[in-house]
Amino acid sequence: MIDKRANDIPAALGGIDNGATVMIGGFGGAGSPVELIHGLIDHGATDLTVISNNTGSGEVGLAALIRAGRVVKVICSYPRSANSTVFPDLYRAGKIALELVPQGTLAERIRAGGSGIPAFYTATGVGTELQEGKEVRSFEGRSYLMEHGLSADVALLKARSADVHGNLLYNMTARNFAPIMATAADLTIVQAEEVVEAGSLDPEAIVTPGIFVNRVVHVSQPAHEADLVAAGESYP
């Protein structure tokens, strides 16, 4: 019988190794799996490469993971935020690496990585600094850059509803990168506000099919990054 539920966050995160590449869902605070990220800090894995659109805010969630010194490199499109100095300070000190990727190219690289596509061509970035080192090829008179698919050892994601098969529904724009990251990681771990039995979710409405999900952990009242930042909280 398929039951992907993990008893608690430590169980959900079991087996993440040092040096892992970790995709983390979220666009700013929307969809950021704060409890799983804090669990990863407790778990202790280090030398991580993080793939996420941003680098967190305040001293909670992704910013806290970076602040704890666990991240050696981030692959993202927008590593600045109005209220975080964690990533900028480490970056200026040369203590963390950055691979800057246009947001649509980041999404498409993840989609490709999850779909068995090693590389593709896109017009995004042609003639810019971000073209450096990339193969340029012309199709029908227009120039395109070759970009590589991205995959990861682990994805940490947040959903509104999951069933025991790992089928997922999301909450509004918290969906963002989660459905594509789920496809691109060997071990996809999801925190969900509600976890229900198989058959409880309408198959027509499923956004992420359970085949892409390995573990589900119930987090009934997830914290919002912005609320924690506004309260001046810091983790751990």
């Binding site: 700013g28 929307a30 900028p88 246009p102 649509g104 999404a107 989609r111 594509i180 912005a226």
Partner: protein
């Protein structure tokens, strides 16, 4: 010395209102973060224009009433928004398929510089200690059919933003369709900057003085 008369230009809301008049009914439009967001407040009445937010939303509505917001319903600037009837939510790869696949009709972006050949620089000032951040700007200019730039004609220090060649790192080459500033509406044509319209009270010589490239007078009824 004779003091120069103060130039009468549009304020940000007036530029937004002027630009909004040129958005066709039924368009799917992405508004960039910052000044372009103002366009949402000036869309012509009796039209239905669907706003796209690259974090996965079509049919974006205005900010929520105080206390009514949802931290998981935000726009590309990470500010809380609402959804209008007919809205849809989708993941990032679908959202950028709309952008990169040429499905959006128009995007409106801010600018550091626009060159006479349509090159746009709007993502990096190249300062030594700046943290590079690109977001979706390069995707928007490469994929959206029309790219309107909304900007002040000059920087705060009075330096022209419309130039012969961009000095800041490019967002895209030959991508800008039209520019709306406090002083004028300017098309990027095959020959360069083509003046379509002056803000009332502004003379073409004043625009030329504040532009670091040739301005072709393309107003209806004017000789070039």
């Amino acid at each position: 010395m004779k003091e120069e008369p103060k130039l009468i230009g549009l304020d940000r809301d007036q530029i937004a209102r002027r630009l909004a008049q040129d958005i066709e009914d039924g368009s799917y439009v992405n508004l960039g973060i910052g000044m372009p967001e103002l366009v949402a407040q000036h869309l012509p009445e009796h039209t239905e224009i669907v706003l796209h937010s690259e974090n996965g939303l079509l049919g974006m509505g205005p900010s929520p009433a105080p206390g009514q917001g949802n931290p998981e319903l935000v726009n590309a600037g990470k500010r809380q928004v609402t959804v209008l009837p007919g809205a849809s939510i989708f993941h990032h790869a679908d959202s950028f398929a709309m952008i990169r696949g040429g499905h959006l009709d128009l995007c409106v972006l801010g600018a550091l510089e626009v060159a006479a050949n349509g090159d746009l620089a709007n993502w990096s000032t190249s300062e030594a200690d700046a943290i590079p951040a690109v977001g979706g700007a390069m995707d928007l200019v490469s994929g959206v059919r029309s790219v309107f730039v909304m900007t002040s004609h000059c920087t705060r220090n009075g330096a022209p933003k419309l130039v012969e060649e961009c000095s800041y790192p490019l967002t895209g080459q030959n991508v800008v369709t039209r520019i709306y500033t406090d002083l004028a509406v300017i098309e990027v044509g095959t020959q360069g900057f083509e003046l379509l319209e002056l803000t009332p009270g502004v003379q073409i010589e004043e625009v030329r003085q504040r532009t670091a490239a040739e301005i072709i007078d393309a107003r209806a009824g004017e000789t070039k």
